[in-house]
């Protein structure tokens, strides 16, 4: 009777004590999202050389996963051109119902279908580097490629000033990929008023870029080539160096392969626009963690791009960007 009532009060008080202690101690808890399954990440290519673009993205991913205390599993096709393989990999990842899916789309349109499937299964999707033609992804973390294209174009325009050979061509890597489309648009907008004679596609093959360039170099008025990715840049520079036309034909490229940096030093390549793959990897995981913690990330996060020339390539802040540790 009365004793029970007292016992009840003391039990309640004890429980309150326990809760208050827990709450008080809990103040300095770090909030990492409460997920059991790893976040699945499907990149464009997994079989590149160490320290290539995707490898560095991967390092950024790992660092962020470590910092935010989440698990990630990174997969992807061997090569960037294996679009169907990537679709299969994305589908398989969806079947594992991860808390979140991160995709670097190899194709702007073909990857929409698997992403729709993910949406149906309530798996949030974040795209990285290359987006898809859909507004399903909750965020898109990439280099602002239009901005990057503009940087390349502006540099080309600056270099062309006062020269005789004024024809400019664009060597794109692939059709129907958002990066290529955006970069080309950026280059064209910056080169407004210059004589752009056309865009060629090398289909992400260095050999093809080289051969096309050899043909293009027969044009006596050709004054500049803007190559839109690493492979295209290497093909173009190879041809230009072979013909010894580096003083006549100015090359502005993209990315920072070791060979490109060599060309940059020797002057075959006048400038290259580099992305920040490490930051890209880091920021995409950060955005994923934000989303899973209940905060909507920005729909588009620009990871930035930098124009590298011979003059600034050995500056301290760019050294680790261009020459990642561990080489």
């Amino acid at each position: 009777m009365k004793n029970w009532y007292l016992l009840l009060i003391s039990l309640m008080a004890a429980l309150a004590l326990f809760l208050i202690l827990s709450l008080f101690y809990g103040q300095n808890t770090q909030k990492s999202p409460d997920i059991d399954d790893p976040i699945r990440i499907v990149l464009k290519s997994m079989d590149g050389d160490p320290m290539d673009f995707w490898d560095v993205v991967n390092r950024g991913i790992e660092e962020a996963a470590r910092e935010f205390g989440v698990q990630v599993v990174v997969t992807g096709p061997r090569f960037e051109k294996e679009i169907n393989a990537q679709i299969d990999i994305v589908n398989r990842a969806i079947e594992l119902s991860p808390p979140l899916l991160i995709v670097a789309a190899t194709d702007f349109r073909k990857l929409v279908e698997p992403i729709r499937r993910a949406q149906k299964l309530d798996i949030p999707v974040i795209t990285v580097d290359s987006g898809v033609d859909s507004d399903i992804p909750v965020s898109f973390i990439a280099t602002d490629n239009i901005e990057a294209g503009k940087k390349a174009g502006t540099e080309m325009k600056r270099l062309l000033a006062g020269r005789e050979r004024r024809d400019v061509v664009i060597m794109s890597h692939i059709r129907e990929t958002a990066t290529a489309i955006d970069r080309e648009a950026g280059v064209r907008s910056a080169l407004e008023g210059e004589n752009i004679i056309g865009t060629w596609f090398c289909d992400v093959e260095q050999e093809k870029a080289y051969k096309i360039t050899l043909e293009l170099l027969k044009n006596e008025k050709l004054g500049g080539i803007v190559a839109l990715n690493e492979v295209a840049t290497l093909g173009v520079t190879e041809a230009v160096e072979e013909l010894g036309l580096q003083e006549e034909v100015l090359v502005v490229g993209f990315d920072n392969a070791m060979k490109e940096l060599s060309y940059l030093e020797s002057g075959v390549l006048k400038a290259t626009v580099v992305q920040r793959p490490y930051n890209m990897g880091y920021l995409v995981v950060k955005a994923a963690v934000e989303y899973l913690s209940g905060h909507a990330p920005e729909p588009f996060i620009d990871t930035g791009s930098i124009l590298i020339t011979r003059e600034n390539m050995f500056r301290r802040e760019y050294q680790e960007l261009l020459f990642p540790f561990g080489q």
Partner: protein, 592 residues
């Protein structure tokens, strides 16, 4: 008016106060202990981390100094000095020899990326035999070249950087450069560069970290980063380190740890390189199991609280339970019963109280018993007196009748009445006993009826019909006679015609019911009620009663006195249909 929040009972009061106090005590204790535990763990972890950091510095210093020794050896090498002094007219064979000896140093240490000698005109002799000097590099502008000249013969240790002096090769190195000064002339002959692969230092920094989120980084004397595991994040401002605070930590020497939110920074300076090596520990790594610690503490608190709660419960009930017991027993006094407390389990004080109470109750009981006995005696003697009063009237009426019958010469009747009278008296006296067998009582009332039947010739008839099985059961003497007398005088005598008195008796389950029924005048409802209330009233109060009432009341009171309050008389009557008076007696064996 004072408002009392603490409940009224002693138990609740003890309980509440104890609970609040224990709650507060445990809470404070827990907070202090938890803090203390955390601080202890944290500071010991930080101490460990600091040791680890110092070890890292020692390793880096050791590593650099071993390479520096090589650089000293080479720059002091007389062959090399000779070769350099004779610049210009050195023959190709000697040139090859020098390169080979440099190459041997490179081969001996796999962590050395390259060894070069730079003339002051910018010419480079590389120890790597296949290497081609990068034509786009102007060596004389390099930091390590200028640094070596500034140091004047001392080793200059550069920050980490990408070495691009060899064409097509970009390696992260730390450059140790040193001006080669001729031992003979004291002239400056050139600059020796030893490039140390940075990945060794990087590996050291990455491996000697604590916890999942801890890391080390290195800044040079200007505060630039020599190494940072996430250099790109730092350069793009996605992550920032409090470099000025860390550097001021070196000067202050008050504490060796700087805290920013949940990161702890410690710094040690490498003497050889002038690098500041910063160790970062993350709070969540130091007390990895703090949640577990917290649960343990919470659990201990809970257990403690429950134990103390139970103990409090025992203590408070140990005090109040005997008191309540005592109280319950004392309360029975109110209803007139005097129970003893007896031996109880309680503290000495309570037991003493109980003993004193028992003594008191004992005395009261004795007094009450004495009082009751006295009262009873008094009433019994009163009743005896009353009983004795009845007889003389009847006696002289009967004697008158005998005289009258004697005069009439009715000898037989005289004999009959006299013998009945004699029997009546014998039974009335019955050796002074108050309780007699029913058989005797029947004989007594028979005698009475015989006498009355002779006196009131043809006025009434009667029937005695009592179960013979009951004849041996006890009854109070002179129980039935007053009832029969009452039936005759107040029933039959008052009515016209011949009356009939029926005395019947049966045994109930545990009682005996004897009915005396007449068909006389009967009573009105008011008369009956007056009679009943008169009978029930104790004789002490003595209301005025008719003679009829007196007789019945005496019988009733006597039965109750001897057999208990559950027994006695009950009446039912109505006008002109007669009266039934029932005697209820216990059905109990004769005892003596």
């Amino acid at each position: 008016m004072k408002f009392n929040i603490i409940p009224g009972t002693l138990e609740a009061r003890i309980y509440t106060i104890f609970t609040i106090m224990v709650f507060a005590a445990i809470f404070i204790m827990q907070m202090v202990f938890f803090r203390f535990t955390m601080d202890t763990v944290r500071s010991s972890t930080l101490e460990n981390n600091h040791t680890l950091l110092r070890q890292l510095v020692v390793q880096i210093d050791f590593y650099i100094s071993s390479v520096e020794r090589i650089s000293r050896t080479i720059s002091g090498d007389l062959d090399i000095q000779n070769f350099l002094e004779n610049e210009g007219d050195a023959d190709p064979g000697e040139f090859r020899e020098i390169r080979k000896s440099l190459n041997n140093y490179i081969k001996a240490r796999e962590d050395i990326s390259d060894i070069l000698i730079v003339y002051h005109d910018g010419t480079v002799i590389s120890g790597d035999l296949e290497a081609r000097v990068n034509p786009w590099v102007s060596v004389l502008d390099m930091d390590w070249y200028r640094g070596a000249l500034e140091r004047g013969g001392q080793t200059f240790v550069s920050s980490s950087h990408v070495q691009n002096i060899i064409a097509g090769r970009y390696t992260w190195v730390v450059s140790l450069s040193r001006e080669i000064i001729s031992g003979l002339t004291g002239d400056s002959l050139g600059v020796l560069l030893v490039d140390l692969k940075f990945n060794r230092i990087e590996e050291l920094c990455r491996s000697l970290v604590v916890g999942a989120k801890g890391y080390d980084f290195i800044i040079d004397r200007e505060g630039n980063y020599v190494f940072h595991p996430t250099q790109q994040l730092v350069y793009s401002n996605l992550r920032s380190e409090p470099v000025p605070e860390i550097l001021s930590l070196l000067k202050s020497r008050e504490g060796n740890t700087y805290r920013e939110e949940d990161r702890y920074f410690m710094v040690e300076t490498s003497g050889l390189t002038d690098w500041h090596i910063v160790g970062v520990s993350h709070d969540s790594d130091m007390i990895t199991d703090w949640k577990y610690v917290q649960i343990i503490y919470g659990f201990i608190g809970l257990i403690l609280f429950l134990v103390v709660g139970l103990a409090t419960n025992r203590i408070s009930s140990g005090i109040t339970k005997p008191m309540r017991h005592l109280q319950d027993i004392m309360k029975t006094v109110e209803s007139g019963e005097f129970h003893l407390v007896g031996e109880i389990k309680a503290t000495e004080e309570i037991r003493e109280l109980a003993r004193d109470y028992d003594i008191m109750v004992g005395r009261i009981r004795e007094l009450v018993a004495a009082n009751t006995r006295e009262q009873e005696l008094k009433r019994k003697s009163d009743l005896k007196a009353l009983q004795a009063q009845i007889n003389p009237h009847f006696l002289y009426n009967t004697l008158d009748s005998i005289i009258w019958m004697g005069e009439m010469g009715q000898n037989r009747e005289v004999v009959k009445m006299t013998s009945a009278l004699s029997k009546l008296f014998r039974i009335s006296i019955s050796k002074g006993q108050e309780i007699i067998p029913i058989r005797d009582e029947i004989a007594h009332v028979q005698s009475y009826l015989t006498i009355q039947g002779m006196r009131y010739q043809d006025k009434f008839s009667y029937l005695i019909d009592i179960d013979p099985d009951l004849h041996e059961y006890p009854i109070l003497k002179i129980t039935l006679q007053p009832l029969v007398e009452n039936a005759i005088y107040h029933g039959i005598k008052e009515s016209e015609g011949r009356g009939f008195i029926h005395i019947s008796g049966q045994a109930g389950d545990d009682d005996i019911m004897i009915k005396v029924k007449d068909n006389g005048k009967g009573m009105t409802a008011e008369e009956l009620e007056e009679l009943v209330s008169g009978i029930e009233t104790a004789p002490e109060n003595r209301p005025k009663l008719s003679r009829q009432g007196m007789g019945l009341r005496n019988v009733h009171q006597r039965i109750r006195l001897y057999f208990g309050t559950g027994y006695g008389l009950s009446c039912e009557s109505s006008l002109s249909s007669g009266t039934v008076i029932t005697v209820r007696l216990p059905l109990k064996e004769w005892e003596r």
